[in-house]
């Protein structure tokens, strides 16, 4: 296999098909994500956005097509999933923090037990990450004691602690109160500005317009169209895109 170099797409998705039983979710999706690029995927509910994200880190296996992450084929039965997932961080709509562990422990667990890194060094990095998501002082709080927005930011810190090359965000503000959405988006924007490669599934159009390099619109399991935000929002070409944007904006 040819060696992957940073000038090639970090993620290359080619003609991916996925069905859950009789329900086809993805019917031939292709997209490239370059290193440092921020991609926003928008589209109506049930259009396969979340499934597409889950395919990238092999939480969901695909039926047909190819997904390359740094040149490594994800759709390969011999794939070392753990190795892939160290490179790909993911943040979920429902935060999914571990409720029996404090915020700090949540951030530290994976680097210590999966990467087998030194505990003291991990703790130092974890405290730094918690500061970075502006939750200094909440290290010893349990997830149940934090607001939704705070939990989500801890979840972002937990994912960053693995030093991933790319971050996947799955509708991370969809379960939040409107006033806490902003703080989470702020954290993601900061990450994007620092050059983190991000694939973001979102319903926050204003945020997508601001932060994305490319916007992809999905409907019925296909990518209908994509383009830089300005162009995408100003002149959507496909009627489905236009209809969706009319409904939402």
């Amino acid at each position: 296999m040819p060696q992957w170099t940073p000038d090639q797409p970090l993620i290359r998705i080619l003609d991916v098909h996925k069905a859950f039983g009789a329900i086809t979710v993805l019917r031939g999706v292709s997209l490239d994500v370059m290193k440092g690029e921020v991609i926003c995927v928008i589209g109506p509910s049930g259009s396969g956005k979340s499934t597409l994200l889950r395919c990238i880190n092999a939480l969901v296996t695909i039926e047909r097509g190819s997904i390359l992450v740094e040149g490594q084929e994800v759709n390969d039965p011999k794939l070392d999933k753990l190795k892939l997932r160290r490179k790909v961080g993911m943040v979920f709509q429902q935060y999914n923090l571990f409720p029996h562990r404090t915020a700090l422990q949540n951030v530290m667990m994976a680097p210590i037990h999966v990467l087998k890194r030194d505990r003291r060094e991990v703790e130092e990095q974890a405290r730094k990450l918690i500061r970075k998501v502006r939750l200094e002082g909440k290290e010893e709080s349990y997830p149940g004691e934090l607001s939704g927005g705070q939990q989500q930011r801890i979840a972002i810190a937990r994912s960053l602690a693995m030093n991933p090359d790319v971050m996947l965000f799955d509708e991370v503000t969809a379960a939040l109160d409107p006033e806490t959405v902003k703080e989470v988006l702020f954290t993601i924007r900061e990450l994007a500005e620092e050059g983190m490669t991000c694939v973001i599934v979102t319903h926050e159009m204003g945020f997508a317009r601001e932060v994305a390099d490319q916007i992809y619109f999905t409907d019925g399991g296909v990518l209908v169209e994509h383009g830089p935000p300005k162009e995408f929002f100003a002149n959507p070409r496909d009627p489905r895109t236009r209809q969706f944007l009319d409904q939402i904006l």
């Binding site: 939480l59 999933k81 160290r86 961080g89 979920f92 409720p99 037990h113 979840a155």
Partner: protein, 280 residues
Amino acid sequence: MSVGGRTDLPVLLPFRPRGSAQGPAFRLRARHGLMLAAALTLSVGVAEAQTAPGAPSIIATILKWTPLLAQGFALNIAMSFLAMAIGTVAGFPLGLGQVSLLGPARGVSWFVTQFFRNSPWLVLLFYCMLLMPFEVSIGGTIVALPGWLKSTIGLSLPVMANVSELVRGAVRSIPYGQWEASEALAFSRAQTLRMVILPQCIKRMTPPWMNLYAILTVATPLTSVVGVSEAMTLTGDILSSEARTELLVPLYLYLLLWFFLYCYPIARATQALERGFQVR
């Protein structure tokens, strides 16, 4: 329809969970103990009235036999402890087997669990009593298997099956997002179970597990049927040696009170734990 307490519309009624899935709706309460004590007092009074002139009083007779009963009761407690320990140690892996990704392991664990969970306890007890040898040879030394030990093993079988179900239910009750998040953080399945899923399960399992222990404790008198000298057997022995029919009701109620006094604190602690979890 009216609002303010008097309504026949279910949606307007205050939410009251109907017996949680993790335990029976019936709970031991202090008033059950009071009722038992009242019944005992009454039966002692009735029995005193029936006592032949010159015979020792009922209370004196009960007190005379109390040390022996206590010995028997200690055996009940010892058997309950041991059966719970064996059942838990064996039931935990069995429960994990039920959530295994390996089909055959899952099938076998499921079958064993269902078999022992749905067999009558007394049948299992007889099987263990009659099928196990009275002594076994371990590395050349002969180890005797007394009846109480064999019946303890017999009691531990349904405990094992119930613990297995508790484990399976607890693992299944953990939201799927916890598995997904662990997977995304590159935890292996074993790590996920050990560090994420099971710690959360143990908290959820504790109240029903304590409940199971209380059920086991009140089931230990079953072993009297197979001849173990525990409190129930001794009560029968005392009655036949005293040969006084009026003693029968007070003495059994007295024994019942012992079981209540032992199980009531466990029931209270279980309730307190459950309430604590609801707040969290």
